[in-house]
């Protein structure tokens, strides 16, 4: 047997004062009395046992010394040498996914029950044992490396909070294996509700000790929620909503849809057992904001009862059309609800801020600054030369990756009399003829981008095709920096890569290429911006995340996206995971294995020494103190 803290034996010196006090104690108090004859009568009636009377003081000293010895030995923390040879290294994988928030019958969450089990295991660690803690919610993370310090483990365990993200137990176990490389007598303890794919296989592995918490529960949750603007109608938007009934009984409830806090619709839901229902709703609104869905039903998991998405706002785009008369072009622009159209004969000197200049055949020698869309360029300018016309060009290549060509096919469209352009500057061909001449091209400029469509609208059938209004809508959106098409909601636990608006890029440049990400619980962290993009995530909480330039900008309400004076990016985050919403307990998990124990009875030796010391105090009280006060 060895001791973890041999220096504790210095406490044995306390035996010296104990003996001194004992000697002082056995020198009895001398009390003069008038006569002892009455006391003799008393003690003649109650004659004490003589042997005990002789030994009682020595027994008292021995008990006290034994009590001290037990306490000193307990502080010295003894352990068997076999404990060293059998040193255990344990990695505990704690599932902190959304489904662990489900409450069991006793009112506690699965996560609380799991933490209770882990605390018991930490207390059962032997002195040489080591334990690590990995949380597996959203992204596996080692929150505490291998250590035998129980207080550290308790602190990190207390800090482990539940997330709204998916279960990543399998990945966490793999991470645990890497921690236990070259370790002997190792164990990976998984404490989870088992509501993830591959749970049964994981539980069957030899190295894994499986402990399951929670109980089956019925749940209704939103598994998908996205909003996008219509491709054809600028003010229409579509809501994709998918709701699942993860129970063995049919459920009737309702779902509220709100835009910026205002009620849009109430959907009655009648879902059969295990039914997952998806709906697409169409609504119209020029304004944007946060669209939220809320299931009006209380169940065991609240996180998936609500979902949010960002609806991009449609801003009015001032478009100045310089034309001698183009009925198709004018009508397409007028039909677009977000366009504020101005018809002029000559090229204006100045454009309104954010405005787009559309030049139809009328061309100055120098293309003005700002965003310019040129249709039917009949003459050369500072950006290109015109070398006649292309008789019957057919589109051979088109850039499908460009947002400008989204949902457009030009390969079967006749485009006679298209201008043959020779750009003088760098350009990107969005559509090319077989001869390699650009038919639709993008010319980037620092003073504003230029789009050129060389097609003769009067001769071809492009204006009669649906591609034409889509092309113009794409162009307008592109000039408007893509605002307003789709800001996808992110599933909890996922990361997202976002291209920042010019305003945010400028703000990031002013802040050392860093922006502030504010979580739904108002916690903040910095995000690095690289080449106008930033990677955000993994997002572990449902709600609206905000990316702003300053930490103080997070006060901007979600509903006032357009009114925000400071540039900001909002990202909606939802559970959106049928596996997390399904709280029915899988039946394939094997029976619980025995968790950690320390020594006989699952306690360290010092614990039994303290118990023995406590029993000694009781014996001492019964033998000595009780006789005085009984």
């Amino acid at each position: 047997m060895s001791f973890s803290n041999p220096a504790a034996f210095l406490w044995a010196l306390l035996a010296v004062p104990v003996v001194i006090f004992y000697i002082l104690k056995i020198r009895m108090r001398r009390i003069p009395v008038s006569t002892v004859m009455f006391w003799e009568q008393v003690y003649d009636e109650k004659q004490p046992r003589s042997v005990w009377q002789k030994l009682r003081h020595v027994a008292s000293l021995l008990l006290q010394l034994l009590f001290l010895g037990l306490l000193v030995a307990a502080v010295a923390d003894p352990f068997f040498d076999s404990d060293v040879r059998e040193q255990r290294r344990v990695v505990v994988v704690l599932d902190t996914s959304a489904s662990m928030q489900a409450r069991s019958e006793d009112g506690n969450t699965c996560l609380a029950a799991a933490k209770t089990q882990i605390r018991r295991m930490v207390r059962a660690l032997k002195p040489q044992d080591e334990m690590a803690l990995i949380v597996a919610g959203g992204r596996p993370q080692v929150v505490c490396g291998l250590t035998g310090h129980q207080r550290t483990l308790h602190v990190h365990l207390d800090e482990a909070a539940s997330t709204d993200g998916p279960t990543r137990v399998v990945e966490a176990v793999e991470l645990g294996r890497r921690l236990l490389t070259d370790a002997r007598n190792e164990q990976i303890v998984v404490i989870s509700d088992g509501r993830f794919a591959g749970a049964a296989e994981l539980a069957a592995e030899d190295q894994v000790v499986w402990s399951q918490v929670g109980a089956s529960a019925a749940n209704v949750g939103i598994t998908r929620f996205q909003v996008r603007r219509s491709l054809l109608d600028p003010i229409t938007y579509q809501i994709l909503i998918e709701v699942g009934n993860f129970s063995d009984e049919s459920v009737e409830c309702s779902l509220d849809l709100r835009l910026g806090g205002k009620l849009l619709d109430v959907m009655p839901l009648k879902l059969g057992a295990g039914e997952i229902r998806a709906d697409v709703l169409e609504e119209t609104s020029v304004g944007g904001g946060v669209i939220s869905a809320q299931i009006q039903r209380e169940d065991e998991l609240a996180a998936d009862n609500s979902a949010r998405a960002i609806l991009p706002q449609r801003l009015k785009i001032p478009v100045t059309l310089v034309t001698a008369g183009n009925w198709f072009l004018q009508r397409v622009l007028e039909a677009n609800d977000v366009v504020e159209l101005t018809l002029v004969d000559e090229v204006p000197q100045n454009l309104p801020p954010g405005g787009i200049l559309v030049l139809d055949q009328v061309l100055p020698e120098q293309i003005p600054q700002g965003n310019v869309f040129v249709v039917q360029p009949m003459a050369a300018t500072d950006l290109w030369d015109v070398d006649g016309a292309l008789a019957q060009p057919l589109v051979d290549k088109q850039d499908r990756s460009s947002d400008l060509m989204r949902h457009i096919r030009l390969d079967n469209i006749l485009m006679p009399e298209a201008r043959k352009l020779t750009p003088k500057v760098d350009f990107t061909a969005l559509a090319e003829s077989i001869s390699g001449d650009p038919l639709y091209l993008q010319i980037p400029r620092t003073s504003g981008d230029v789009l050129v469509l060389s097609v003769n609208l009067d001769q071809g059938d492009l204006p009669l095709r649906t591609a034409f209004p889509i092309m113009l809508t794409n162009a307008l959106s592109w000039f408007a920096e893509g605002k307003g098409e789709l800001i996808p909601a992110v599933a909890c636990g996922d990361s997202t890569d976002r291209r920042l608006s010019a305003g945010l890029q400028q703000a990031a440049a002013e802040h050392n290429n860093q922006l502030v990400l504010t979580a739904p619980d108002q916690s903040q962290r910095n995000i690095q911006v690289l080449d106008g993009h930033c990677t955000i995530g993994p997002l572990q909480q449902t709600g609206i995340w905000k990316l702003t330039a300053d930490a103080g900008d997070d006060h901007i309400p979600n509903e006032e996206l357009s009114a925000a004076s400071a540039p900001a990016l909002r990202i909606a985050c939802n559970v959106a995971d049928p596996q997390e919403s399904d709280l029915r307990m899988p039946e394939t998990i094997k029976a619980r294995q025995k968790l950690l124990s320390a020594g006989f009875g699952g306690r360290p030796i010092w614990f039994y020494l303290v118990i023995a010391a406590f029993l000694l105090t009781m014996i001492e009280w019964l033998l000595f103190q009780r006789r005085w006060v009984s």
Binding site: I26, M28, R29, P32, T35, R627, W628, S630
Partner: protein, 291 residues
């Protein structure tokens, strides 16, 4: 503070007045003795024997029954009061010591007796007669008596009432009232000594003193008790149970004193040291008046 100061003397005079007005002749002074002789109050008849005084023949009886009977009268004489003060070491215990109260009571009773023209004598005893104040009469002797009492110490050794009583009856042949002021802590028993007094025709009256620590001790645990009278030690482990038993034993002792006195018509006063001497003496006079 002196044992007998001016305040003591003032209260002593007050006691004397009260005893004369209210309890006249009921405790000691002017009370009838059991001596038969030349008094005026008829007591009994006896046969005439030659040499008897003819003046006491009952001529009426002789005329009716033709029998010579002599009338006997209860003799009135000044009372002899013996104050027997326990000076054993046990009397020195208590706060204040029992001995102080006993001496004050002794002085008070002596003053009352002297004021009523009785004769008093004080005997200090422990395991025999240690000292004594001879028979005296008249209030003027009270100061001498006080000086005598002040000169006494409670260091006389162990109590032996039988031994003392044997010596006392030899030293004081004249019968009278014998007031025993003691704690009666005689290991051999107080009864033997009192029996000797009774058998020698003294009229004992007992004043038993004890203090609260004797009646209700508080010590607990391992203690070594020292008997102040004989110096013996007794090592004890005192528990609550023992304390309860002790209280019962002590109460039984006091009860035995009361029962003894009651059985033999002996006056008895049991007191602790929490009372003042005048309260105690007034209590004694009231008790005597109700008998």
């Amino acid at each position: 503070m002196a044992l007998f100061d001016n305040d003591f003397l003032t209260r002593l005079e007050y006691l004397s007045i009260v005893s004369r007005k209210v309890f006249r002749g009921q405790l000691m002074a002017q009370r009838r003795t059991k001596q038969l002789g030349g008094g005026i109050e008829f007591a009994d008849h006896r046969q005439y024997t030659p040499g008897d005084d003819f003046r006491y023949l009952d001529w009426n009886l002789y005329a009716r029954h033709d029998e010579l009977l002599l009338k006997r009268f209860q003799e009135e004489e000044d009372l002899h009061v013996y104050l027997l003060l326990d000076c054993s070491r046990s009397m020195s215990t208590g706060e204040p010591p029992k001995f102080d109260l006993a001496r004050q009571v002794t002085a008070a009773l002596a003053y009352i007796a002297l004021a009523d023209l009785d004769r008093i004598s004080v005997y200090a005893f422990a395991n025999g007669v240690l000292n004594h104040f001879p028979l005296t009469r008249g209030k003027a002797r009270i100061l001498s008596l006080m000086q005598f009492l002040e000169s006494l110490d409670a260091d006389g050794g162990a109590t032996d009432m039988a031994q003392f009583a044997e010596e006392f009856v030899i030293r004081a042949p004249r019968r009278g009232l014998a007031l025993v002021l003691s704690d009666l802590y005689d290991p051999a028993g107080y009864r033997v000594g009192l029996d000797v007094l009774r058998h020698h025709k003294y009229e004992p009256h007992i004043v038993q003193f004890h203090h609260s620590a004797e009646a209700n001790p508080k010590m607990l645990g391992d203690v070594e008790l020292q008997d102040v009278e004989n110096g013996d030690f007794r090592k004890l482990t005192v528990t609550e149970s023992h304390l309860r038993s002790y209280r019962d034993v002590f109460q039984a002792f006091l009860t035995s004193v009361t029962e003894y006195c009651s059985a033999y018509g002996i006056g008895c006063t049991i007191t602790d040291t929490n009372v003042t001497f005048d309260q105690l003496v007034l209590g004694m006079m009231r008790a005597a008046g109700t008998k």
